[in-house]
Symmetry: C2
Subunit: 336 residues, 2 copies
């Protein structure tokens, strides 16, 4: 194990000062062309690579963005990561990911939040659902934050109109002649209440009301935002007599779980039960699932762009980006 070359080694071998090496290798101006060439040659020969950690300490920039999400195994989070990563790596930033999936994790994360200073230049929060108090804690990081999917006062955000999305889905079902339309929500996600299901539920109820249908509380059920939870909830729904003829699920993963279980129980989809999801998951088309599309990967890209924008977000004002959703009609819905 031989010691790796440092900037000092290069400086000595090239017969210049470390300051000049530093400038030459970073392509800063004010270096004589021949000097730069010589230094580059020496650096190459010594297989020199600057120590990023040291450079960052000296310059005060980490060139790193942190991304916090519930669980990286979930589709939504994985898409945000994919989108953000593409933008960040194109701009020379590293991406640090951190899961916050239990109340415990969450507490620990918030407690250690200020230690992020010195590790990241900015933070992307996915489905974090911070209380005002927790948001205050996050402000102690003294780094720009952009949230995806929710809004927190004082932070930038990339969001959709959840109310409108849910209205789109519900209106579609209503227009097909359905009256008993169930809602599968996920209020208990990780034990934290999120404004997202709340907003979507509002859109669902308002649309029903507009159509003169009164929402039956017995038709709202929790699917936990998971495929398995969606399957279980559907089973319960189908035991109702009469059972609903349509079902709006607040995520495609729940919707696909619902479809799978309904069919396993001998029900026809959409014959006996029409199903609408939310997301437009990569597999929604293969499933023939009617859903409300939100451009999750683009949202991740946007979030990253806000952080590395030409106007360094460090000093920029928080901005709120809204992206559009649209209804995608496939085979899982049919007239009542």
């Amino acid at each position: 194990v031989t010691r790796r070359a440092t900037i000092d080694d290069v400086a000595r071998a090239a017969g210049v000062s470390v300051a000049t090496v530093s400038r030459a290798l970073r392509n800063l101006p004010n270096v004589a062309p021949e000097t730069r060439l010589r230094i580059q040659a020496v650096a190459h020969e010594l297989d020199y690579e600057p120590h990023a950690q040291a450079a960052r300490l000296a310059s005060g920039k980490t060139m790193t963005v942190g991304l916090v999400a519930p669980l990286f195994g979930l589709w939504y989070a994985s898409q945000v990561v994919a989108g953000a990563e593409a933008v960040l790596s194109a701009h020379g930033y590293d991406l640090l990911v951190h899961a916050v999936d239990t109340p415990d994790n969450r507490q620990r994360f918030l407690a250690g939040a200020s230690s992020l200073r010195g590790r990241v230049d900015g933070l992307i929060l996915v489905d974090f659902f911070a209380t005002p108090k927790q948001a205050g804690r996050l402000r102690t990081v003294h780094r720009p934050v952009v949230t995806v999917g929710e809004q927190i006062r004082g932070f930038s955000s990339v969001t959709i109109d959840n109310y409108a999305g849910a209205a789109l889905a519900t209106r579609h079902l209503v227009s097909l002649g359905h009256h008993r339309i169930a809602l599968m929500t996920g209020t208990s996600m990780y034990g934290y209440s999120s404004p997202v299901p709340t907003e979507r539920a509002r859109g669902y109820r308002a649309t029903l009301a507009d159509a003169g249908i009164e929402a039956d509380p017995a038709l709202t059920i929790d699917g936990d935002f998971t495929t398995e939870g969606g399957a279980r909830a559907t089973e319960a729904l189908l035991e109702l007599d009469p059972h609903p003829t349509a079902l709006f699920c607040l995520s495609d993963e729940m919707a696909m779980g619902a479809m799978g279980r309904a069919r396993a129980l001998g029900m026809e989809v959409p014959g006996d039960l029409s199903i609408v999801g939310f997301d437009d998951h990569d597999l929604a088309e293969a499933f023939g699932l009617t859903t409300v599309r939100q451009p999750v990967r683009s949202m991740g890209r946007l979030a990253a762009e806000l952080l590395v924008a030409p106007t360094p977000a460090l000093e920029a004002e928080p901005t709120e980006q809204h992206v559009d959703v649209e209804l995608v009609v496939r085979g899982s819905t049919a007239p009542a």
Copy 2:
């Protein structure tokens, strides 16, 4: 914007040296209990948080692991990330993710590989498929590497027996009486050849041979490892006359795309076409997909553990971990 407290501020306020502050706050021994208490109180009052970057430079440890994968939007990669993250964060490590999805990206990554020294203590490579030459380049990082899904000489790995997994799937189809069994592969993934599809194809062919069936080259098709690719390839397969009665896809994403398209074309699955996948994707059960299960999330966990193991992998010998696969029979397969 007030300046954040540094270790010097704490030392001054507590009337001790920075060395003592450093020891006290990291819970090192040899600090008088009352001194430690006082320092902790002062640190808290000043809202002091150590600057991770600086600590890392001084100590020579980055407490960070890098993970490189094709695309984080794909199920396989997202599961590995989820598994690795859980282990790493439990051990106080940060996780840096980096996508390598194009030949261009790949080249840039390899070129800058040695700059990882100083940023990570170790590296997890997912589906990287390095050539011997590229592996050599990776060795210049001078950091332990563990690969997931493939083996590279000199590096640790977490792998499954691809040959056996494919044999399991093929034997299942053969035992159901199928003779015309198609294989959907993904050799052209990102333009790099991978040993994974090759091994699985071997298992498929050997099993057919064992059963006295000669593999028809016309029944091997490329599905690009994507849902859409799987759908397209299936369409081509079904135009054959006679078309195959069974299809083994090297990933569940392709298999689900195949199922969706086959049904959209009016085919019954499994009535007209039996389908087996590979992975046991989270949605495979909802799809009723027969598949070969590999514990991807556990593989991510294992990879991380190899890196942060009690015996620091830094000096450990490369180890090769094999995990088992199993056939999960669901509704997408039926007798011929």
